[in-house]
Symmetry: C2
Subunit: 429 residues, 2 copies
């Protein structure tokens, strides 16, 4: 486990960063020209860290430095710098398992909690593109390659148990980041908590009914226990559309500082939830009725394809690359054995699907009633319209969490979403 | 993780052990008299280690030293000495959580992989007592206190997630011992494996049908995955009746070298399986028909009470000592919340029951078709009678594993066992 070495750490401002990079010959050459001429801009818009874009005469890099506290809240909420270590560890593993789908790693300094990466240009944060109604034709293939490969190859289907246990232990120290998820996703949105907020007054009634909904609280508690105690695979841990940078032809997954060994459905569910939120938010971004129909159709098709392609790729890997200790092929000999194992693979995927939609629901609800909201909804200026979109997302999410068994396939999810497109919730206030 | 320090390790024979203990003033005083006068006897009858009983003028101690290989097999099967570290760690934790139910720890030497414990006298290995038909009136209360407390207090119901993750990591290095279980319990008995054996020729047909039973192989594979990747609580990991020493008034759980964070049902299931095997073996130990009826009634009542009392104590702890991050009480406020949480506690126990009987079945089958058999059956001299008892145990076990849903309560298990008491299997040969 990475120990914090507080004595060596300092927050790098522009001058400090310039000096640090100038002292690294590879990076100095990559950037090119006189270090004094490099442009350095702090662009972090996330919740936790400093992010700089540095450009020189020849090239540019992105630099991420962890702060010893939560940037969104301030020094009153300390957070260990060791998260930079786990992010680096996860990014290295993802680069190996899903080459070309994460930014190239150029430099890591453990003591400064600093990582230098390939500058992604002209990529934008996918969420911004979705708010604008942009379609991303590469997205399904790329994100399902990323999730299928990073999850499969770190699971018990691919790893011997001993190596898996060591890998779990290597990420055990990242528990402060897990705790954020445990509190902000799996607990606070369902109770009175100072940091909660929602689109008031319109969702006041819905917020109160969620706090009073004991079936929902049982469902979220089961998901929380699964999140805490089911180290199925190495998760990205925060795989929303703000952690994905895109062009129409490229996809890059960034920011795996929440990485740990957890339930696979949490990562896949994050992708689905954020697409579903983009879908429900879309009505609020219309300037003329129906202008985003093609986009909305694409988003729901993307939801369907993300699950279907993920499942297909994951199953293919299982059939061809199963070197782990789970489901030993020696127990399934001959044609009869092969058929029975194949049936079990599908049963396994069905269980994973149920987990996935539960986690997707949890990810939606936290963005509407918890601390951290997302731009999909927040950029809908008209509060009543925003609340309407949010209430539709919540209605679907509640069903996915409490009546998970009613959603047998991903088409049940998109079908329900489609039906809610123009549903008019009763709003408070 | 404990590193092996091979340079300092040496196998202690009588003289070496005498010198080592004589150099420890507390132990020297406890034993009393001239070290040269101490009697030292190697009594290990387990599969892995050396065990000495040392007696002096005043008192006695038990000494356990790990060997760098599996004692049952020899130097051709190496096994890390670090297991003594994990055993010591687990024993310390169990002593804290279940005081009086494990032997007192007197000394531990990490480099020698050596632990000195309270000498348990006149305790005997419980399995021997069961073979003899002895009833143990303290057993239910003691073993359910041990299992309920050690499992609950190391679970997410009692521990914050951060502490739990650190505890999981602290035991991650014990994977060589886990691997033994993964292979010998969850894999080999279901396929052709050199180390398998069974009561031939009588069980040849049953062994072949088990190797061909794909439903059973799916069930054992699901259990194996749960064993590998569900760190619910700190398990003893080998809680059969050979790991329990008893008198009629005392119970002591020994030998937790297989300890790791795993699924709770594995420990409770081990207890149930070994009682069920004692029950099915009992017919083979009769000298006159019916002479062990009272014992057999007691064994099945004990099976029932072990689950019922375990569940009752576990639930009581959950209601009163839930300081963990799972199922936060703040999500279940008021009378309505309390009622819903209580219902969920029962649903949780029902899921744990299903796990438990699956693991119990796995523990039975491995003792009949795998490498390590047990005295309950092995001491039945008449092979046909032995095979008959074993086939009855296997028939119940297969049902518990494949049709787990048909066993809703522990009375379904004992009812099925009772019906099989005089069932005559078709034997081969």
């Amino acid at each position: 486990m990475a120990q914090q070495q507080a004595g060596d750490y300092r927050i790098l401002h522009e001058a400090g960063l310039r000096d640090h990079l100038a002292g690294l010959s590879d990076l100095k050459a990559l950037l090119g020209g006189d270090p004094a001429s490099w442009s350095i801009t702090e662009v972090g818009d996330g919740n936790l860290n400093l992010v700089f874009i540095v450009k020189g005469a020849r090239g540019g890099v992105a630099v991420k430095q962890a702060l010893p506290y939560v940037r969104l809240v301030g020094e009153s909420w300390p957070l260990p710098l060791s998260r930079a270590h786990y992010e680096y560890l996860a990014l290295s593993k993802q680069a190996q398992l899903a080459p070309g789908l994460v930014p190239a790693l150029l430099h890591h300094n453990e003591r400064l909690a600093l990582t230098v990466m390939e500058l992604l240009e002209p990529h934008i944060i996918m969420r911004k593109g979705l708010v604008a109604g942009t379609q991303y034709p590469r997205f399904v293939d790329d994100i399902t390659t990323f999730t299928a490969r990073t999850l499969f190859f770190t699971s018990d289907l691919a790893l011997p148990a001993a190596g898996k246990k060591e890998a779990i232990a290597a990420f055990a120290g990242n528990h402060a980041l897990c705790k954020i998820t445990e509190d902000l996703i799996f607990t606070d949105p369902y109770r009175i908590a100072e940091q909660n907020r929602w689109t008031a007054p319109y969702l006041d009634g819905l917020a109160a009914s969620m706090r009073d909904d004991m079936e929902l609280h049982v469902a979220i508690s089961r998901l929380k226990l699964k999140f805490i105690a089911s180290p199925e695979a190495l998760l990205h841990g925060d795989l929303h559309t703000g952690s994905i940078m895109v062009t129409e032809s490229q996809t890059r997954v960034i920011d795996p500082e929440f990485a740990f060994y957890g339930p696979m459905g949490f990562d896949v569910g994050a992708v689905l939830a954020n697409l579903l939120m983009a879908y429900f938010a879309s009505a609020g971004h219309e300037r003329t009725p129906g202008e985003r129909q093609a986009f909305e159709r694409w988003v729901l098709e993307t939801v369907e394809k993300v699950w279907i392609e993920f499942a297909r790729k994951f199953l293919d890997l299982w059939r061809t690359q199963a070197r782990g200790d789970a489901y030993p092929v020696s127990l399934f000999p001959g044609e009869k054995g092969a058929m029975r194992l194949e049936a079990e693979r599908h049963a396994y995927m069905q269980r994973l699907f149920t987990d996935t939609i539960g986690f997707a629901a949890a990810k939606s609800i936290r963005r509407i009633f918890g601390l951290a909201h997302n731009a999909d909804f927040e950029l809908i200026a008209d509060l009543k319209s925003r609340a309407t979109s949010e209430a539709r997302a919540v209605r679907l999410a509640r069903g996915m969490m409490v009546e998970a068994a009613a959603f047998r396939t991903i088409f049940d999810v998109t079908g329900a979403a489609r039906k809610l497109r123009d549903w008019q919730p009763e709003l408070s206030g």
